[in-house]
């Protein structure tokens, strides 16, 4: 077992997952993050590889990706083990994830397209589009973040809309997904809400003569104990119920964040939210870091190894400057990017944008290197969305990359510190 201090910058999926792996190996781990990461905004599923071009993939086809894709830097077991480990943590912490690397799940989006993914929370799987039976989708009246009429008739499955009351009681402001999730977490409110919904479902059946067999709701089925909420709602409505991710904040993502954080803290890790981290690399190729505290002083962070899980452009791991350059925000490490800003984006908003592949270049040990493949520091590693070579949105690969690169980075960190 290794002995030493590891600093992880970033509290997204890759940062927290790396923190857990390192803490399990008895490293003294501190995560410092400017705030909460991308998990809070995503789908709450684990996407490994869903698309090649515009084609939906039945099975991840990592071999089809470019040579410099992060997946190609990994050992053949990294992805599989990372997925298994995550699945184990999620199950143990009451939020089981379903699926495997052999076949992508196909789940509906709020616009009625089908989304391939590797792992999804149990609360989503009843919506599987591999099942050809019809879908009933709930319209929560007064909820501004979910419009099932936009998915009506979009899929081969027949879709029916069922109107449900937003909540049991009047709510005097706009409800976010998290508000609804918290109400459903509360036993009494849950009972009131599910009773009201049950009545609507019965009325619907009376009116249409259709029995609802599976009902889709926006992803709001509780933050604390989603399994219990799902079971209670299914019992009350007498049908299968599934969640469809909608506009942020993401309830399924927040569940993942909460459980990974709890796992990390239980293993003795330290999580410091708030400060930004700045670092420098000495002439002996050693990186050291400080955090910026509330009074704008810099506090040294003791670390034998530093793992950058600081995210891409969305989360300050990479910063695009007004002059057209791109900076890595902690150490100013060399970044792979195109100097002509016109080439960063596509003409069409919904097309793949080349800037998505900008990021840090690393060797197979997940250590940043420059364009001439020169190692930048002996004690710095990187994982997650800061890595170059992947267009995570277009490929449907964000979480798979985060987990497997975190796994590989920590494996190498442990080896280096042993």
């Amino acid at each position: 077992m290794a002995d030493g201090k590891l600093l992880i910058v970033g509290a997204g999926l890759s940062g927290l997952f790396a923190g857990i792996l390192a803490a399990r190996a008895d490293l003294d781990v501190t995560i410092v993050a400017r705030g909460q990461g991308n998990l809070m905004l995503g789908t709450g599923t684990i996407d490994v590889h869903g698309y090649q071009g515009k084609a939906r993939l039945e099975v991840p086809a990592l071999g089809a990706l470019d040579d410099d894709h992060p997946y190609h830097k990994l050992s053949d077991y990294a992805l599989r083990e990372a997925i298994e480990l995550l699945r184990e943590i999620c199950r143990r912490r009451g939020n089981p994830m379903i699926g495997n690397l052999e076949k992508n799940l196909l789940l509906p989006t709020a616009l009625g397209t089908s989304r391939p993914t590797t792992l999804a929370p149990i609360s989503m799987v009843a919506g599987s589009l591999r099942d050809e039976s019809p879908l009933w989708i709930a319209r929560l009246n007064g909820f501004r973040d979910f419009f099932p009429q936009l998915m009506h008739n979009r899929l081969p499955q027949n879709i029916h809309i069922v109107d449900l009351a937003l909540t049991a009681k009047e709510f005097r402001r706009d409800a976010y997904t998290t508000d609804l999730a918290r109400m459903l977490d509360n036993f009494h409110k849950r009972e009131q809400i599910t009773n009201a919904w049950r009545k609507s479902i019965l009325d619907y059946r009376k009116k249409t003569g259709e029995a609802v067999t599976r009902l889709g709701l926006p992803a709001i089925l509780g933050l604390e104990n989603p399994r219990v909420v799902l079971a209670d709602v299914e019992d009350a409505l007498e049908c299968h119920v599934f969640e469809i991710p909608t506009l942020p904040p993401s309830v399924p993502g927040m569940r993942l964040y909460n459980l990974l954080r709890a796992e990390f803290l239980t293993l003795g890790g330290q999580l410091v939210l708030g400060p930004s981290v700045k670092g420098k690399i000495s002439k002996y190729q050693r990186g050291s870091a400080v955090m910026k505290t509330a009074n704008k002083t810099e506090k040294a962070i003791e670390a034998d190894a530093i793992l950058l899980a600081s995210g891409g452009f969305g989360h300050h791991g990479l910063v695009a400057n007004v002059d057209g350059s791109v900076t890595e925000s902690v150490f100013d490490l060399p970044v792979d990017y195109l100097t002509d800003r016109h080439a960063w984006t596509a003409e069409s908003y919904l097309d793949a944008h080349p800037y998505a592949k900008f990021g840090l270049r690393t060797n197979a040990q997940m250590q940043p290197i420059n364009q001439n493949n020169k190692l930048q520091a002996d004690n710095i590693w990187a994982c997650g969305s800061i890595l170059a070579g992947a267009d995570r949105l277009s490929e449907g690969s964000r979480e798979g990359i985060s987990l497997s690169t975190a796994f590989t980075a920590v494996e190498n960190i442990i080896q280096a510190l042993s």
Partner: protein, 534 residues
């Protein structure tokens, strides 16, 4: 082909056209207005928002300055709720010649533009971001005017007075009999239906596009589109209009309009009013000029860049000219005298602030040709509008807060959170326009104009519109993609720091959470023809 008749037919639904239609209908003409896009779709909707005091022109173009101050006073009375009384200041930055302020003051006095030099502290204490090395400050009655509000108010007014407004109707030809225009062939761009509108008088108020209409009458009219690029900064960096105290130049004004502040403009002659991409150097130039007024300007969030085309009339047509030197003053072109075709008058030149005066001159000429004497009453009669007081920014916040405090239940969800646009406004907008184009709703309500550029509200508004207009999901998804594509144009030049982060979130919403890119084929997003301009 079905036929319609109107006495006066106005082409163009911008500030000039609407003012002309208002003038005509108030003089008792049966009036119809045609617009190939939406209200304020062209230059009016791409304007920086400055209601001129005339100060900007006192030295270079005294005639315009006198028009501006007169019209400034009138517009405050007739469309008050589109105008925010911000005042304006001419400031001498370290980069400007301090002596110019004296020339400026003297010229203001000569042209009757109220101007008062005050101790610099008065302004600098209020506007803490301004360059502290500003040495002279002169106050003038500039104001901010929201051109979307203004045009919507005018349209509402003329409709209430009995005029007809046809949007998304393009003129495809003029019906000319015996050297006189007696009708206009029109195509409804949404249905492709074509029909003839007979008329006694056509008023061509199509601005930078005026040459196209003139050509249909066989005339050659050189209107030089002068591209002006502007950048909206995310917040109000100033609460008053700030002008550099020097001869008018590019990038020398900063105008607080609604939630943003607009720095403008550049001025570049372009070939076509439909094709004028924004150049990187323009963005860089404007941001640099901003630094003279507000040190650190570049660090603030630049939200959106866009350009409009000024309809600058070049009577000499031909010789090369820098476009700012062309005349700003307007002129009525009588095609009878010029091209031997009657029944058609074209308005060229002019500026937003003088729209009413331009309309008056135009309709005066029309009356002369129609041999009727009817006085203009537009200056004395306020437009019918929901508000009779000047606009102020916190209005929307007030409304929302009061309803939040009064109600025990949510009555009106906020659809666009950045600009506080509630569902009731969205529904009213869709109801009134019946338009499937979300961008029309934006011009009506400011939906999608805040920092997230439609990230959250476009999906919501799309969901509401889909239900109200009984759109199929396929149709609705195309609508949504078109709106996002339109917002995209203004962001692409500003993708650094904040905006790239915003893009990441918005892309996550539309391409990951919703999968919009997998329901519409991006190659097939055919924007409505009139939405194509930059």
């Amino acid at each position: 082909m079905r036929k319609q008749f109107t006495e006066v037919l106005v082409i163009g639904g911008g500030a000039t056209g609407l003012s002309a239609a208002r003038d005509a209908v108030m003089r008792g003409f049966k009036t119809l207005l045609l617009e190939k896009g939406d209200l304020a779709h062209g230059t009016s909707g791409r304007y920086h928002g400055l209601l001129h005091s005339g100060g900007r022109y006192v030295v270079s173009d005294p005639h315009s300055a006198r028009d501006c101050i007169a019209e400034n006073r009138i517009l405050r009375k007739i469309i008050p709720s589109a105008i925010e009384n911000t005042d304006g200041w001419f400031v001498t930055t370290p980069e400007d010649d301090p002596a110019y302020a004296d020339t400026f003051l003297a010229a203001c006095k000569a042209q009757g533009v109220p101007a008062e030099e005050l101790n610099v502290d008065v302004l600098l204490n209020k506007e803490r971001l301004l360059n502290q090395r500003i040495s002279r400050t002169i106050r003038v009655p500039d104001a901010a005017c929201d051109s979307f509000d203004a045009t919507h108010i005018l349209a509402h007014d003329i409709k209430a007075r009995g005029a007809k407004v046809l949007l998304r109707h393009e003129v495809i030809g003029l019906e000319i009999r015996r050297q006189k225009v007696c009708g206009v062939n029109v195509r409804n761009l949404l249905t492709d239906e074509e029909f003839l509108i007979e008329t006694s008088m056509v008023l061509n108020c199509s601005g930078a596009w005026a040459g196209n209409i003139a050509a249909m009458a066989g005339g050659f009219l050189k209107v030089t589109p002068g591209k002006g690029t502007m950048i909206a900064m995310n917040t109000r960096l100033v609460n008053t209009v700030v002008n550099r105290c020097k001869l008018p130049h590019d990038g020398d004004i900063l105008v607080p309009v609604g939630t943003v502040s607009v720095i403008g403009t550049t001025d570049i002659p372009v070939e076509s009013p439909d094709q004028y991409p924004i150049e990187d150097w323009e963005v860089e130039f404007l941001l640099n000029e901003g630094e003279a007024l507000i040190p650190g300007f570049k660090k603030f969030r630049a939200l959106r860049a866009w350009a409009g085309v000024r309809p600058l009339y070049d009577p000499t047509a031909g010789g090369k000219t820098e476009s700012r030197d062309l005349t700003r003053s307007h002129a009525v072109i009588d095609h009878q005298a010029r091209d031997g075709v009657g029944g058609l008058l074209t308005m060229v030149g002019g500026k937003f602030t003088t729209m009413r005066l331009m309309a008056q001159d135009l309709v005066d000429e029309a009356c002369k040709q129609l041999r009727t004497k009817r006085p203009c009453t537009t200056a004395e009669t306020p437009a019918e509008a929901p508000g009779t007081k000047h606009y102020y920014l916190a209005q929307r916040l007030n409304r929302w807060e009061q309803s939040h405090a009064q109600h025990t239940a949510l009555t009106d969800p906020i659809i666009c959170e950045c600009e506080l646009v509630p569902e009731s406004k969205v529904r009213a907008g869709i109801e009134a326009s019946q338009s499937k184009i979300l961008n029309d709703l934006r011009r009506d309500t400011r939906l999608g104009m805040g920092p997230c550029q439609g990230g959250f509200c476009a999906y919501r508004a799309n969901g509401i519109a889909c239900g109200m207009l009984a759109q199929t999901p396929e149709d609705a998804h195309t609508t949504l993609a078109q709106f996002l594509q339109e917002r995209w144009k203004g962001q692409r030049n500003l993708l650094w720091d904040h905006n790239l982060r915003q893009l990441e979130l918005d892309q996550n919403i539309y391409r990951n959470l919703l999968g919009l890119d997998h329901t519409v084929d991006t190659a097939d997003i055919e924007l409505y023809p009139t939405e194509k301009t930059a």
